[in-house]
Symmetry: D2
Subunit: 426 residues, 4 copies
Amino acid sequence: MIAQYPPMGWNSWDCYGAAVTEDTVRANADYMAKHLKPYGWEYVVVDIQWYQPTAQTHAYEPFSDVMMDGFGRLLPAENRFPSAANGQGFKPLADYVHSLGLKFGIHIMRGLPRMAAHRRLPILNSDARCDQAANPNSICAWNPDMYGTRAELPAARAYYDSIFQLYASWGVDYVKCDDIAREYPHCQREIEILSEACRNCGRDIVLSLSPGPAPVEQAEHLKQFANLWRITDDFWDEWRLLKAMFERAEKWCIHAGPGHWPDADMLPLGALRQCYEQDGEGPDAGERSHHGWTNFTQAEQRTMMTLWCMMRSPLMMGGDLPKNDAFTLKLLTNAPLLAIEKESWCAHPVCASETACCWIAPRKDGKGCYAAVFNLSDEERTIAFPADALEAGCASATELWTGKPADGSLSATLPPHDAAVWQITY
Amino acid sequence: MIAQYPPMGWNSWDCYGAAVTEDTVRANADYMAKHLKPYGWEYVVVDIQWYQPTAQTHAYEPFSDVMMDGFGRLLPAENRFPSAANGQGFKPLADYVHSLGLKFGIHIMRGLPRMAAHRRLPILNSDARCDQAANPNSICAWNPDMYGTRAELPAARAYYDSIFQLYASWGVDYVKCDDIAREYPHCQREIEILSEACRNCGRDIVLSLSPGPAPVEQAEHLKQFANLWRITDDFWDEWRLLKAMFERAEKWCIHAGPGHWPDADMLPLGALRQCYEQDGEGPDAGERSHHGWTNFTQAEQRTMMTLWCMMRSPLMMGGDLPKNDAFTLKLLTNAPLLAIEKESWCAHPVCASETACCWIAPRKDGKGCYAAVFNLSDEERTIAFPADALEAGCASATELWTGKPADGSLSATLPPHDAAVWQITY
Amino acid sequence: MIAQYPPMGWNSWDCYGAAVTEDTVRANADYMAKHLKPYGWEYVVVDIQWYQPTAQTHAYEPFSDVMMDGFGRLLPAENRFPSAANGQGFKPLADYVHSLGLKFGIHIMRGLPRMAAHRRLPILNSDARCDQAANPNSICAWNPDMYGTRAELPAARAYYDSIFQLYASWGVDYVKCDDIAREYPHCQREIEILSEACRNCGRDIVLSLSPGPAPVEQAEHLKQFANLWRITDDFWDEWRLLKAMFERAEKWCIHAGPGHWPDADMLPLGALRQCYEQDGEGPDAGERSHHGWTNFTQAEQRTMMTLWCMMRSPLMMGGDLPKNDAFTLKLLTNAPLLAIEKESWCAHPVCASETACCWIAPRKDGKGCYAAVFNLSDEERTIAFPADALEAGCASATELWTGKPADGSLSATLPPHDAAVWQITY
Amino acid sequence: MIAQYPPMGWNSWDCYGAAVTEDTVRANADYMAKHLKPYGWEYVVVDIQWYQPTAQTHAYEPFSDVMMDGFGRLLPAENRFPSAANGQGFKPLADYVHSLGLKFGIHIMRGLPRMAAHRRLPILNSDARCDQAANPNSICAWNPDMYGTRAELPAARAYYDSIFQLYASWGVDYVKCDDIAREYPHCQREIEILSEACRNCGRDIVLSLSPGPAPVEQAEHLKQFANLWRITDDFWDEWRLLKAMFERAEKWCIHAGPGHWPDADMLPLGALRQCYEQDGEGPDAGERSHHGWTNFTQAEQRTMMTLWCMMRSPLMMGGDLPKNDAFTLKLLTNAPLLAIEKESWCAHPVCASETACCWIAPRKDGKGCYAAVFNLSDEERTIAFPADALEAGCASATELWTGKPADGSLSATLPPHDAAVWQITY
């Protein structure tokens, strides 16, 4: 099955925005193959606007010339992805990633290029044209490249078939479709034809929907038509965003399972925002400092990794991998922690307040469970996992960040924003 | 001053939709000059998509080729408006209308053509291009032709200046700008630069905003920046819409005054929907019958005319004038009734229920007032204007639809949906 | 007819809260008869909890012993209203007020005393008891004395009949019923039986509903069943409340007319809060200073009087009349200003902003109109009434606060929060 | 700890409304001791208005004389509970229940009797009186007996202490407090002092809050201050209510745990509405038929029992136990099913639609799990538990209603509204 476990990988957005290049992707793939692959990391994902020759930052340039073929299908900008020359698209790059034993993914926007509609380009294997499949009244609120489709028309499905056929021919393993996960009910039908095109393209491709917050009322629809979907708007390295994720995780935890994973977004760790030359550019300038390294404290990074693993969120590293320092690398290679993603199920919070939160996750093999405590306050606190909540008892327990056995009770004295998580054996 | 009284005229939408032609406009202008001009009717307004060569119905065709000049300014489609040949635009047609002693108006959509943005056309008298003035995220929900502007940029104002300069050169007296009156707060700034461009173009041009419902909370903004603004969505010849107008009129009546008039929309009288070959096409097909004549009863037509006059709404005939029958012509030439628009002020309802409504309007010259009663029920009813509400007394009164003097009380036995209105002298 | 013009009078709440006494009422009546009667002031109204022997401030004492007869009808507390001894109720006091050529009014809460229900007292001229007429689930949110009625039962109407019969026998001319005007739809039926009991009691009694804001959507219901209704919550001597009244007045102005008057609440002028021994007691303590004199500046007082007159609000003086200073007395005896209430109609604002507002009011006799300008800003401003809005022209004009003729334009240089109002002749 | 597992018992409301008597309680206790005790059933709970001598149906009689002591503490009506004579309260009845090896519970309304406030009765061990502890503005919307308290005052806590001291002296083991669980935020503080009084009374008393729906946003507050709280309004034997419970259960499932149980309300099974002489009386008359037996089909009863067990809701039988038929008794004594309440944890739905729903619940001992499927449609359907969702595999499985082993897949052909549930071993 596709996405039996939550996918793990790297995505270019947090470090290179709309300006990612082939060199960067290869460098990250190399690093992943060498340092992370043994720990389960496998997807290398090229994020937004790889078809835009002039993209240089996180910002979008409206009405610019995008690369596309005669059927209105976007192609990698050759000045940024040289191996795409001669109409080869992402195939050479995908081949390279595959040669490392990894998998290759791309980002797309829902719909078709506005330019393809205004030029009335034909749709491959269809009598209809792009202007007939496009919905002139359906646009993205923040990116100027595309029109949504008239999803009720065969022409729209034909267009999605045509692009997934192309992606399959390139060897794409993972598609992150944007501007589609929170737009219910308007995009409900568009999600469905997107999903059908994906599943009928002849290749196993993980389908991920963005951005969030996806509406929790649509959980069953999302589970049916996608493998991943974002549960928040873009997540960045700010404590208030990380703290807010606890509420989201609580709402979504019961919907995680094989083939369908609520997605807490990329991990903004290590070297971020590498496409900026100076502070103050980019999204949300002024709200947070824009130096090129994560603003999260080490404690906050542990908390994030712990929460993502306990809720079984996909793990997509956002930082530039080759620039990882020792701490970051260690964070991404904590094997007993990462095992939670595969070995637990039915996780949920057992208590939550403004200052602390505790989660429980039974092990599927019945031999124990995982218990996590989070210090959400701005002060050092000793936080005990509530004994009553451990209904099955606890023969022995090991804390997974320190590797130390628990002495008697599941309790930890934690710096502000830090976490502890025990592997418990009955 | 501009629009000292509520403008009166004809508009092509109700009879010819997006498919109006020069022949039709001339024929309506000729009729107006001959039959209606003495009663105050003067504006001849060409409604939407005069720049679209292939428009044939009320429907819009996305991504079609629109006529425009090298500065992204829309021009009349020459196949539909032959006098516009050789770059003359609407000047010859406006000249003709002026030669009849009438005034000439056009409809525009807010913003600039999508095609002008995608082609990156220059803006006249500006260093900026259309793609720089366009807001790629601002579109109309129902018409695919335009992008809204980045109203905060000088380029946007420059574009509006360039089109009003063109309209002034053509001799345009009235501009109805669409997709802008209900879109607060998003279009607030766009209304302002539109208005400034209009007032600085060197010609007196009435500025009318559509569609409604404009938000009544924005009354002062509208009064400051426009001469007319729509208080409802499109009005058609259906009783439920006419009945609903009473509530709108009540909310807006205090905001009518010289230079600023809440607009209850066109009068769907006489020959409507002339661009349809058969029933069932066009907007709202299936909700109402689409034969080519107004669905309003004669009683309903009297009610509409009475309400529009009492609230001092602009009067824009929507039917094809040359096809008027005797009743319709008489309706439009009831001079004592039409006088209410100029001679009254401070009108408002004095009572209202599901079945009946009464309005009072003092005369400005202090010599009397107007009192109207409306039968909103589906049965014949005798409705009396409440004696208490006539605070200044009543020496004599004449009913303006029948011409009969009132005998004692202001009371009328009315068929369903009919109205009576008295001119009262103290 | 009842309340042909907006009632004018005095009410005890602003100065004596729940602790008003007979002495105070008589002193205010004496003053009114001597100083104000010639200017149209006539109602003397005893406000809340005259039946409560221990009331001493604005506060209410729950579960206290209230005075009532064997039919659950509240009676004046004899320790506070000595003339009520021997079961005479308010008759002696009403007689006294009548002897001065004035009219007498009282405040009531909707419903019947909780104590009457818990004691299961009989209802006069009914087989039912108070506990059967009371709705145990309908209470006032701020006063603990009463239960609302089961208005759908004859017993409820019987109870209201029994109290209005008593009030008529006392000679009451005005009843202000509280906890009933904003509670739509719950109190809709209770308003109706209250109104019917009032109109069937054999005496002309003005019916006033409180507190506001009454919902403007219910204007027609209020016009049908009451003579006055409050358009705001309690109004006090704070500029922010006065400024906010302009928005209320705009919404309600078209609903003023003979027999039905939107009520902007008492005039908190002169000596207020006389039942407090020191600052800081009473409602909203801490939000405003509680010395015993109005916090309004003289400019604000002019603005209030001007707005109340232009909108034709009832005028109920809230300050202790005998303590009036010369300024206050002059304010209440500006005959040309007060004449607006009787001689104008169809008033409404013609422009409004955060800093200024203008109102127009035609004269019923057709000989002119009134035009007011208000400086709502915190700075001195010169404000001109818009010339266009004076559609009927202006032969001559006199400003009513200064008595000076206008020289050319209707323009005034006003201190912060001040107003000017012109009487215009054509 | 109190309520380590979800409480199981019987409650008098569904069968005897406000009219329950001592005889009935004893008969139900006898039956429980004899037939149900071995299966974990233990609480015998007397529901609302045991203090009201004249209660005869589900309806409440306002302003009636309730039994209470001199401290405003309600006492059992002696005509209905003879053993309460001589001020013994519920002690003799509780003693009897205890003698059977069972536990005794009572229903209370939040607050104190209105009559105690109006009579200004003293509070035990306090200087304050009931009128001082009562909040005259806080009443129940549907029951006329009580005032809420001024929870911020020591007097309010003192009153709650006084009643729990009494209940402890009687030997009460379970208190269901009504009119308090959905009234956030108004009752937040009242819940807290209620809870503190309960926990400080010297006896282990389960605290249950009603009615629902309690707001899920308050889950942590409820978990802290109560043992049970209702997640819906009153539940009755109607399919639409049972179907709607699935959505509630999904929202609340993660909040179930030792000491704190979301409560899906009583089980309306067997003999209901025994206090009615004929159909058509009682709450919601006309919406459902009121014969004296459950309207649920046998399939629906299995679905209810399965859902309640999977979500670990408390189980409170609502029908008159001695009238149980064989089917009902068997339903209540399905030991392997009831074991889910004690042996599972971390349950949640894995898929849900309008027509079907599936739940998973791991076993705490790690030896397996429970999987349930529900046919929510009105037709027979074959419903398979999704194989992917059974992440830990399935060595063998037994269906708990039929006792049959699963053959290969977890799939069942179910009549409308029926359920199947498997006990799975790894």
